[in-house]
């Protein structure tokens, strides 16, 4: 073998893969050089996951060849992939949460004493040493569920590298991470690259692609669009490659003449969550609620939706005193909430698009005996499929088979069907592709045209400055800063400074 740093450690040629009725990959070639961080990007359904699943042997390709370090692999299987050093680190790392870090690191091959019992002292010593070799100083006695998600991912990467993986595939690693943990993870990945590891990095976050990767492979509709060194790319070019069209950012024009306040919060406090919050959301307004993880913005949204106690203070919805003991009551009062965790809390995956959209309003679709009128339901669901641009083969399609962006639109449709007065969106564009992101923000804009008040809990600052009339910054449970479009200079950089606790003189809490 010649200099491995120049050769392709993985090479996939003309890979074809079809599923019933869908050609997931249509002759895609993909190669990874040793020692690089190679980003694999594309919309949901572009074929990234299928490509990676073939590479890791989860299922076979219909045709095409795979080479690892120049050797052809006749039939890739999961064990074969492991043997040749290809490892996948999934978004939700596969650990036993109740066991210690040490036990997880050595899972399946715990060191034994001569008597056959686990040799705990050696286990702790060895696992700590292993992790230290990868620059991780962690108390290995702690249980896996106690460490942050970023640390879990780093441990999993280290575990893969220790098992002599040479290519580590990171599948959307940052989606569940708060910003500062992303930084930690990236530093770690870069350090491992310096030591010779190779990474395939799948992500929707284009900023991160530019920050981290050496080269980018773009897929669209199961076909290869191009492979380019990241340094030669600009963000608009990359977006064009991904979407096939010029997707602009969606910039919501400032809308004058706000309606009456739909949500008023005055002096609201809940120990441990937030303190003395006062804010308003008006009809037709989009308000961003941002801050560091745990700063109180998410807790406020969940409290308003009846998932957590609201605490002490005054809350009015449409001018009337408001409290919700559960989501059912919140929805009845016109407060709808889009959860951050789409899979766990948003979609009812195995049920159809129709069932999902109508789930929140089945009562309204039913007659006096409780039977659903098929005609009314079809017209309701059809209306939202059309107006939100949900791409689905039919109403009967199981939601789990849709792309992430379309799943999210189904969840939005379900909420909009309740005719809410105020819509609380918790990271509404997380894990959806560029185009779907724009479409979802456009939907939000249309809703405000109909008099709905929208509050977005997010730390996507670019997005917030694009769509919000106002952005409120939370810092340690308090509202510390307000940015108004057209009045204050509302830029991501200035908001970020406020988020991290930089207090400006003369600006006080918000009315």
């Amino acid at each position: 073998m010649n200099d491995p740093r120049l050769g392709n450690v993985v090479e996939m040629r003309d890979i074809v893969k079809t599923f019933p009725g869908v050609r997931a990959l249509d002759g895609v070639s993909f190669s990874v050089r040793a020692g690089e961080i190679h980003a694999l990007v594309g919309k949901n359904g572009a074929g990234k996951s299928t490509l990676v699943q073939i590479l890791t042997g989860l299922y076979p390709q219909d045709s095409g060849e795979i080479f690892v370090r120049g050797e052809p692999i006749e039939r890739m299987t999961t064990t074969r992939a492991k043997d040749v050093g290809i490892a996948l680190v999934a978004q939700h790392a596969r650990f036993v949460p109740g066991l210690s870090i040490a036990e997880n690191v050595f899972a399946g091959s715990l060191p034994r004493t001569r008597g056959g019992f686990v040799d705990w002292s050696r286990l702790h010593r060895d696992s700590a040493e292993r992790l230290r070799r990868f620059g991780l100083e962690i108390d290995v006695r702690r249980r896996m569920e106690e460490v942050t998600i970023a640390e879990r991912q780093m441990i999993e990467i280290a575990r893969a590298l220790f098992a002599e993986a040479s290519v580590v595939i990171l599948d959307e690693p940052t989606a569940p991470l708060p910003k500062h943990e992303v930084r930690m993870l990236f530093e770690f990945v870069r350090r491992q690259r310096e030591r010779g590891a190779t990474f395939v990095y799948i992500s929707h976050y284009l900023e991160e692609v530019f920050e981290l990767s050496d080269r980018v492979t773009v897929l669209r509709n199961g076909q290869l669009v191009g492979v380019t060194p990241t340094s030669q790319l600009t963000q608009p070019t990359l977006v064009r490659m991904i979407s096939g069209t010029d997707v602009e950012r969606f910039r919501r024009p400032a809308r004058g003449g706000l309606g009456k306040p739909v949500l008023e919060v005055a002096g609201l406090s809940r120990p441990g969550a937030y303190e003395d919050l006062s804010l308003r959301v008006h009809a037709g307004e989009v308000v961003g609620l941002t801050g560091l993880e745990g700063c109180g913005n998410g807790a406020l949204a969940r409290g308003l939706f009846g998932l957590e106690p609201l605490g002490v203070g005054r809350v009015l919805v449409d001018g009337k005193p408001y409290r919700a003991a559960n989501p059912a009551e919140a929805l009845r009062r016109g407060v709808a909430y889009l959860p951050r965790d789409r899979h766990g809390l948003g979609i009812v995956g195995i049920r159809s698009v129709r069932d999902n959209v109508s789930l929140s309003v089945t009562d309204k679709l039913a007659n006096a005996l409780g039977f659903i009128s098929g005609r009314r339901e079809r017209s309701l669901v059809g209306k939202y499929i059309a107006s939100l641009g949900i791409k689905t083969p039919g109403m009967g399609q199981a939601v789990e088979n849709l792309s992430g962006g379309n799943q999210q639109k189904v969840v939005v449709a379900k909420l909009v069907a309740t005719a809410p007065r105020i819509l609380l969106l918790d990271e509404p564009t997380q894990g959806v592709d560029v185009q779907a992101k724009v479409e979802i923000l456009r939907i939000v804009d249309e809703l405000t045209g109909g008099g709905v008040g929208v509050a977005i809990v997010s730390d996507e600052l670019g997005e917030l400055t694009d769509v919000c009339d106002r952005v409120l910054v939370f810092y340690r449970g308090r509202l510390t800063r307000e940015f108004r479009k057209g009045v204050d200079e509302m830029t991501p950089a200035r908001i970020l400074a406020a988020i991290e606790g930089e207090v400006e003189e003369g600006v006080d809490a918000v009315a």
Partner: protein, 337 residues
């Protein structure tokens, strides 16, 4: 269906697979295909082996009656399992409500009141299952494991562990509800199963209630976030289960004549098996009322067949278990394609 099409040759034309495969796929799309296939298979087998007795009208009338009680209860179990819960106490609810009704008759209460007592007792038992599970936050498998003994124990107490009888059998109740219809000669309990099946099917597939039950079983949290009152629904479904057991208890008592304290022992397992054979996923989220009834028929067919083949009863139980496993596996294999 997300199966991978096998082999490299299939790659060229993904849309038009071969005709037999097409047929298989079409059949696989029918939820109850596994059970229907098994019923056909069993019937053909028995027709060949013991055709003269198996194919007689009398045998058909008997098998359908014997299947009807489990069939009725399986309709309720579809809701319970599709919601992601389970009810192990149905056999005991049957027994407790049955002896309660018999005692009411013995005490010379009017028949309508005795029927009402039976239904109320059964429904309350189900309600208790649901309420305990929701309020104490204990899974229904644990709660009903407890009430399985509790209800049967109460039934033994009130009946003194002896069959309750000694009431007038010459009434419309025992003659009609416990008899056969004059046109087709089919037992009333079978007609009850058909009615409960139709009502259950409508409720499961066409009502807001059924829709929400399945949503809960598919993703409880997402259902909650969609405004479904989870606790209330779970209690309602467990109560519905009890109510349906009550129906089975009434028609069974009409046929059996006396309130036996041994009725329903182990019935919960047949009810659950029938439901699962019928294509209701144990993981919740979907189900089939028709399938559950067919599942009950299958179980009865097996036992009937083994009896006709003169297999000793002990073996009959073991073979029933094997066939249940085969039926479920068959269904799974067809669905997976």
């Amino acid at each position: 269906m997300n199966g991978s099409s096998a082999g490299a040759s299939a790659a060229k034309s993904p849309i038009s697979p071969s005709a037999p495969r097409m047929l298989l796929r079409r059949l696989g799309a029918i939820d109850e295909i596994g059970v229907i296939g098994a019923i056909v298979l069993l019937s053909v087998l028995l027709a060949i082996l013991v055709g003269d007795t198996f194919l007689s009208t009398n045998n058909f009338v008997n098998v359908s009656r014997q299947a009807s009680y489990v069939g009725i209860m399986a309709v309720g179990m579809v809701f319970v399992i599709a919601m992601g819960d389970i009810d192990l106490s149905v056999g005991s609810i049957w027994m407790l409500s049955s002896v309660s009704m018999a005692i009411a008759l013995r005490e010379e209460l009017p028949i309508w009141l005795a029927v009402l007592i039976c239904m109320v007792v059964a429904t309350l038992c189900g309600l208790l299952n649901g309420a305990l599970s929701v309020w104490l936050r204990i899974p229904t498998i644990i709660v009903t494991l407890g009430t399985l003994s509790l209800f049967r124990g109460l039934g033994l107490v009130v009946s003194n562990a002896t069959p309750v009888s000694g009431y007038n059998l010459e009434t419309w109740f025992f003659e009609w509800i416990g008899g056969r219809d004059p046109v087709f000669g089919i037992w009333t309990s079978v007609w009850a199963m058909v009615l409960v099946g139709i009502a259950g099917w409508l409720l499961f597939t066409r009502s807001a209630f059924g829709r929400r039950v399945q949503a809960i079983g598919s993703n409880l949290q997402a259902a909650r976030f969609s405004g479904v009152r989870i606790g209330r629904y779970r209690i309602m479904v467990m109560a519905l289960m009890g109510f349906i057991v009550g129906i089975a208890a009434v028609v069974a008592l009409a046929f059996n004549r006396n309130g036996s304290p041994t009725v329903g022992v182990g019935t919960e397992l047949y009810v659950i098996a029938a439901t699962i054979i019928g294509g209701t996923a144990l993981t919740g989220g979907s189900g089939s009322v028709l399938g559950a009834i067919l599942g009950a028929i299958i179980i009865q067919l097996i036992q009937n067949g083994l009896a006709l083949l003169a297999v000793p009863p002990a073996w009959s139980t073991a073979v029933t278990g094997i066939v249940i496993i085969v039926a479920v596996t068959l269904d799974y294999l067809i669905k997976r394609r």
